[in-house]
């Protein structure tokens, strides 16, 4: 069980894959779109209860890399291990079966149906007759949304009518509703004001305390240093390197993002500039 991940990939892993607490191990993953290598042999691990922030420019391949894990894209090559076992993730359904929930940057909400329908989309509660149990779903939705956003009251309206922050909380609620083990958050605070951003920060800390492992994609370097245990930086589809947040400074991380330069505190990846 412990040798699995190393025997199947040529590149040595970027951090301790042999640790039994490794929840996700993505090894040597690549995907290209019509000749453009969006993700080029990238590897990354995630441990239990850990928050790993994924950083990089627009178009660095962060979202694409993470979509290989959420099942939105199918990788061309590479392996993914979930809790030590090789996982076959070919579509979002597969990923959900492994306990992987995703909050997409676009939120991926069906605008024309209401909050409860969005929360349970694809996993509807049903009555003994096999019909939709709307009342039960709405009751659960009120419960979860009440915890996340206590002033939220507009359960009967299509989510199109909600504000950006409310829509964001619907997307977050959907991800935590089904006891996710692994959470992927792609710019979860992009549409939020300062107060709501702080709220999401609290939520991430709480989820982390519950032992949930989180991939956090963010532009906000302050956010990252506040919430994450490790940072992983991508550039041009390649992994520049990973580092524990207490081993690097903000300027060093910026150097990784902009120049691809790996500081001494970080573990360099294939994308690091050789100096």
């Amino acid at each position: 069980m412990q040798t699995q991940s190393t025997t199947q990939s040529n590149t040595p892993s970027t951090s301790q894959t042999n640790d039994t607490s490794t929840v996700v191990s993505m090894q040597d993953c690549s995907i290209s779109f019509g000749g453009i290598h969006a993700v080029d042999h990238a590897s990354l691990d995630l441990h239990k209860g850990e928050v790993v922030a994924l950083l990089g420019h627009n178009g660095a391949g962060k979202s694409t890399f993470i979509k290989l894990l959420s099942g939105a894209y199918k990788r061309d090559s590479g392996t993914i291990h979930i809790r030590g076992e090789e996982a076959s993730i070919n579509n979002p359904r597969d990923a959900k079966a492994y306990g992987i929930e995703t909050i997409y940057q676009t939120l991926a909400l069906a605008d024309n149906v209401d909050t409860a329908a969005n929360l349970y989309l694809g996993r509807e509660l049903r009555t003994a007759w096999g019909t939709l149990d709307d009342v039960a779903m709405e009751a659960r939705a009120r419960e979860v949304m009440g915890r996340l956003n206590p002033r939220f009251e507009r359960f009967k309206e299509p989510v199109k009518a909600l504000s950006g922050g409310q829509r964001q909380s619907v997307a977050i609620a959907r991800a935590i509703l089904f006891n996710a083990q692994i959470l992927i958050m792609d710019e979860p605070t992009a549409a939020l004001g300062p107060q709501e951003t702080a709220q999401v920060g609290e939520l991430i800390k709480q989820l982390k305390a519950d032992g949930i492992s989180i991939f956090l994609i963010s532009h906000d370097i302050e956010d990252v240093f506040d919430l994450a245990d490790r940072v992983a930086v991508m550039k041009n589809g390649q992994m520049v390197g990973t580092a524990p947040v207490n081993a690097v400074t903000r300027d060093e991380v910026l150097g990784m993002i902009i120049l691809g330069k790996c500081p001494p505190g970080a573990t360099p990846g294939p994308g690091a500039v050789q100096s």
Partner: protein, 437 residues
């Protein structure tokens, strides 16, 4: 009981200033758009009635209107699901034509040889074969659209030509007639209606259904402490609903059989016809019952099942539906299978009504069906639409057409009017939506 009304506190202040109508609409939670459409329908009826020397709102005309609407109404329920998922189906008229030809040949040439021409099983088997073939054709379209990623517009445009050609090819263009006697009941006519007694029974069941739905809905809301409608609003809805049903039954029961048929019926059953003539009511026509049944089942599918939820979610945001783990391709294929089966049912009704199947049957029906769905509030942008709306839309289209026939308007000019009404209706709907959202 009315203490927990649905009026939320911030709206309470405004409610006192709002007109009685607005208050009524809010309390009953009725769809104002639907209300507007019913108003427009009523207006069309009253105008035609006044212009045609009181010939429009007669039991006879309304009964015929209901029968003529059935076929398009049935297909429009499937078209709603297709348009909601941002597709289109231009082939429904041709599928209807092809399946109708096959059903015609099946019941006149194939089955009588095997079962004998009087067998009661003929109509069941014919309809079943039609539905299977229709579903299969829809399945082919759906497969190409969903799995081979060819736009629905192109696939069904191809289907429009292919199945119209295939309809000709079944009998090399010959018309098939007459149909099996039992099969013909599906098309209406004096024998194809259920009579006064059973019409009242159906009406009573419908009223009980309306009451039961309201009571159950109220109980469910109470169970989870959701806001309730005020009791008076609930009662108004039930009373209006029941009166509408019983009124419709009364109209169907006021349309008597023609004298000739009464005479023949009396002779064959040894009944003496009194001097004033015998009043035998048509009652609700069988095709109308089929259409209502289809409407109820399709509404159930669209609102109460996972499949229906997925259809609307896919229409609202196809990418989100995919990311939520919905097998969007298979759902798309199922929608087209359903559409094909509905075309077969509509084809059976139109064949039975014509007492013949011709290779031109259903020509241009695709446009009527799409128009009915769109007038009925289905948005071509996807994600929005109701089954009931489309069926009312079908009634609006048919009312315009049969009203103009009643007035003796020339056929080309009828098309001009229908075309203008379609465009104006969609324009008004767009205005309404932009104002309300």
């Amino acid at each position: 009981m009315s203490n927990s009304s649905s009026t939320a506190s911030p709206e309470g202040a405004r409610a006192s200033e709002a007109s009685a109508l607005a208050r009524f609409v809010r309390a009953t939670e009725v769809d104002t758009r639907m209300l507007g459409m019913l108003g427009a329908l009523l207006l069309i009826w009253v105008v035609f009635h006044l212009v045609s020397d009181s010939r429009f709102l007669t039991p006879r005309n309304l009964w015929n209107l209901s029968v003529q609407t059935s076929s398009v109404a049935i297909m429009s329920t499937g078209m709603v699901l297709i348009i909601v998922t941002r597709h289109i189906d231009l082939s429904v008229g041709s599928i209807l034509g092809f399946v109708a030809m096959v059903m015609g040949v099946t019941q006149t040439a194939l089955l009588p040889d095997m079962l004998g021409s009087d067998s009661a099983a003929i109509w069941v088997l014919t309809l079943a074969i039609g539905i299977v073939i229709g579903a299969f054709i829809g399945g082919i379209h759906g497969y190409v659209i969903a799995y081979l990623n060819v736009p629905a517009f192109i696939v069904t445009l191809g289907g429009l030509l292919i199945w119209r050609g295939a309809a000709w090819w079944v009998t090399s263009g010959q018309t098939v007639a007459p149909m099996n006697q039992t099969f013909r009941l599906m098309g209406g006519g004096p024998y194809g209606a259920i009579g006064a007694y059973w019409s009242w029974v159906v009406g009573a069941i419908a009223c009980i259904g309306i009451i039961a739905l309201n009571v159950m809905g109220r109980r469910n809301r109470k169970r989870f402490n959701f806001p309730l409608r005020p009791l008076w609003a609930e009662l108004t809805l039930v009373v209006v609903g029941c009166l509408a049903v019983l009124g419709a039954v009364n109209v169907a029961n006021s349309y008597p059989w023609p004298k000739g048929i009464v005479k023949r019926y009396a002779a064959s059953n040894n009944i003496d016809v009194p001097d004033g003539g015998l009043f035998i009511a048509h009652g609700i026509a069988i095709p109308v019952l089929i259409a209502i049944g289809v409407g109820i089942i399709m509404t159930f599918i669209a609102t109460r099942t996972r499949f229906g939820r997925y259809v609307f979610a896919m229409g609202g945001n196809p990418e989100a539906a995919e990311l939520a783990g919905i097998n969007t391709r298979w759902v798309t294929m199922k929608i087209f299978i359903l559409m094909g089966a509905l075309c077969a049912i509509a084809g059976a009704i139109s064949t039975a009504r014509l007492n013949a199947s011709t290779n031109a049957q259903g020509t241009l029906d695709e446009l009527l069906v799409i128009a009915a769905a769109v007038i009925g509030g289905t948005s071509l942008g996807g994600g929005i639409g109701t089954i009931v709306g489309a069926m009312i839309g079908a009634v609006v289209m048919q009312s315009l057409q049969s009203g103009m026939v009643l007035l003796g308007v020339d056929a080309p000019f009828q098309n001009v009017v229908v075309g203008i009404v379609l465009v104006v209706a969609v324009w008004l709907d767009g205005l309404y939506r932009r104002r309300s959202v």
